[in-house]
Amino acid sequence: MVDAVQQTWTPALAGDRAAPRGSMQRFMRRRSTTAFLMCLPLLVIIGGLVAYPALYAIYLSMLNKSQTHFIGLGNFRWLLSRDVFQMVVEQAVIFTGFAVAFKALIGLITAHLINNLPAKGQRKWRGMLLVPWVIPLALSSLGWWWLFDPTHSAFNYILEALGFGEVPWLSNPYWARFSVILVNIWYGAPFFLIMYLAALKSVPEQLYEAAAIDGASAWQKFRHITLPMMRNIIAITMLFSLIVTFANFDIVQIMTAGGPRNMTHVFATYAFMLGIRSGDIPDGAAVSLFMLPLLAVAAVFVLRGVRKRGREIG
């Protein structure tokens, strides 16, 4: 196929050299020009929908409240001095830390369980366990909100029927934090499951057979074969989930809107409150961009590690 393409191109290029035409025609016939033109739609989409909004958000975050003059990093310095924002940072770290850790753990366990099922039953379980991830998040958050409803919680109804007391799922700030983290884990664990399952399936069976001959235990196989072989996918999945969980909006906005006492706000909900509801767009932009440098540094290190390991394996 490559040869065929080369054959098609070569005479044309040769013809170019033999009989020079207009410079525009020559330019259009260059291979790099064609490649550029074919990539152009993608570049336009990335430029318009990713680069421009990101740069515009950075620009907005450096304006004063009335967007009349440039104040550099003034909004970021200001935010760091506010009690509520410090609490938002704390809550976002707790939310993301617990959610990502448990999603990874549950994903890993369920991936192993499914991987060990007979091939016939695997597809059914895989499909069922992916359901939380497939349902639109706003819709499932609303469903969870009904289960946790402050006055008519379905969970409390069951607890009371079993003789236990009511739990203030959303009215107590600490229970509210627990509830939003739980929903995030419920939603995100299937993503880890499917990624880990794919990674598990790519581990060569011969490695396990060799380890079994050497008398390795199940834990030793997991520790010395499975985990090293999955390291790249674990790193990428964790990084992706870290970014997405830090940016979460729907779950907190629908279930608690940041309350009670601002104690469940994450960056996105707090940015929405400042930027859209209170009309302070620059402050809202600064809140939403706050984690960008930290996540960018984390991404560089994680991806460098992935590349390095990739070269070693290669």
Binding site: N64, K65, S66, W78, R82, D83, V84, P150, T151, H152, P168, W169, L170, S171, N172, P173, A176, T256, A257, G258, G259, P260, R261, N262, F272, M273, L274, G275, I276, R277, S278, G279, D280, I281
Partner: protein, 451 residues
């Protein structure tokens, strides 16, 4: 296919001159939409059919003035209306007119057309306007919004007649009859926050607590704001002085400690529908809300609805205040049809139009002109007959909004960040020390003053 004529400077000038002469000489021909198009992004009313009346009025005006009117009704669920307004303000394009809730005129005033001419005509014709609406719609004395009837509401008491009679021995219908002329000052003066607390304690003991939200949404912010005003609490004054550390604040918070103790514990997680559901379920005896809870109860729990009476708020040392949440219309400065927009706003603000809008909403929508609070709708709605008569502010009840009297940019942040209810929740639910709570509030208020 090639054109024989050449595009030269001489030809262009000749054509332009001929075109101008023809336009001047030709008789004025009025097409169906000769005066252009006007697009409106309006709040999607929750009362079935209420949008139709507004559409009818706009179309009537459009037909008379040869303007094509296009309306998009935008829900406030999930703040979609505010998101749309923010996007249009930032992009500098979109509808010509949008309806704005609470502080949105202040938020977008830089891209909203001054509407002094419209406001002054209306005030000249219908008299004084609600001070809260004026506060929200003007920036340094210039009107940037026109108070809308549709959506504008106040949040007085909605109480169960039977439960107040049984547990508190209070006849609310006798205290607040469906005729302002029959208000008896000796009786209404007794309806104070102290009496309210006494009733709340008795109703709690009887198993039917009052339901006062203490989250960070507008129902909570509005009733706490009314209570703060009644106690003389000022958070930030007109000159940017932070005044929250005062004897009045301490008195109000100490009072709230007692009042919140007899509310259900889940009020700290309620959104704006939480108190409605509380009343409709039959578990609650009182909420502070427009008649939306009663309207839903009419459908879902008619026995409850037949016992609900709307009446003014309790009185405090500084007066009787009710939380008001006005809606306004704003005309974007980038609108292509400003004069038509202003004319439409005038038309739908006329008494005859407002009367139709109030009737369509079953009395839920409140005009901002005191002179328009005499429509029959509030007298005829039932059951029980006259239940919403005292829903609009009557007697000595004054409207208020959390954040006032601070300058509006500051007030908007106090309101939207719910600094008052977070203060109360910290003290009553979090059991933080009073001094610490006030110190926290002062720090947050300092944040709102940043330019």
């Amino acid at each position: 296919m090639a054109s024989a004529s050449r595009l030269t400077r001489r030809n262009v000038l000749k054509s332009a001159a001929l075109g101008t002469a023809a336009a001047v000489a030709a008789p004025y021909v009025r097409g169906a939409y000769a005066a252009g198009t006007l697009s409106l992004g309006l709040w999607d009313h929750w009362v079935p059919g209420a949008n139709n009346t507004l559409t009818k009025l706009c179309n009537e005006w459009g037909a008379k003035n040869k303007v094509e009117v296009k309306i998009d009704y935008i829900t406030s669920q999930g703040e979609k209306d505010k998101l749309t307004a923010a996007a249009e303000a930032q992009a500098g394009t979109g509808h010509d007119i949008m309806s704005h809730r609470d502080w949105n005129i202040q938020v977008h005033h830089r891209v909203l057309e001054p509407l002094d001419d419209v406001a002054k005509q209306l005030i000249g014709k219908y008299g004084p306007i609600s001070p809260v609406a004026e506060y929200l719609d003007t920036v340094r004395g210039t009107w940037h919004g026109i108070p809308a009837t549709v959506g504008s509401q106040v949040k007085p008491c909605a109480s169960r007649l039977d439960l107040f009679q049984k547990y508190c021995n209070v006849d609310l219908r006798d205290m607040w009859p469906a005729d302002e002329a029959k208000y008896d000052k000796a009786k209404t003066d007794k309806w104070t926050w102290e009496m309210y607390l006494d009733c709340a304690q008795k109703l709690h003991a009887g198993g039917f607590p009052v339901g006062l939200p203490m989250g960070q949404t507008s129902d909570a912010v509005d009733w706490v704001g009314a209570l703060f005003n009644a106690h003389g609490v000022v958070m930030v004054d007109e000159k940017d002085n932070i005044k929250v550390d005062s004897a009045e604040t301490r008195t109000a918070l100490e009072y709230l400690k007692k009042l919140m103790a007899v509310n259900p514990p889940e009020v700290y997680a309620w959104d704006d529908a939480g108190n409605n559901r509380w009343l409709i379920s039959g578990k609650g005896s009182n909420i502070m809300n427009p008649p939306s809870a009663w309207a839903v109860a009419k459908r879902d729990n008619p026995t409850v609805a037949a016992n609900v009476w709307h009446h003014p708020m309790p009185k405090g040392p500084k007066g009787r205040f009710v939380g008001q949440l006005p809606f306004s219309y704003g005309l974007w400065s980038f609108s292509k049809n400003k004069s038509a927009g202003k004319d439409l706003l005038l038309y739908i603000s006329q008494r005859e139009s407002v009367q139709q809008l109030v009737a369509a909403s079953g009395g839920y929508d409140i005009p901002t002109f005191k002179s328009m609070l005499d429509f029959d709708t509030w007298k005829t709605v039932e059951p029980p007959l006259g239940t919403v008569y005292s829903y609009p502010p009557r007697g000595d009840e004054l409207t208020s909004i959390t954040g006032r009297p601070a300058r509006a940019e500051v007030g908007a942040q106090i309101y939207n960040q719910a600094i008052n209810t977070v203060m109360v929740a910290k003290f009553t639910q979090g059991n933080e020390k009073l001094d610490d709570v006030i110190k926290w509030a002062a720090n947050e208020l300092e944040g709102t003053l940043r330019v």
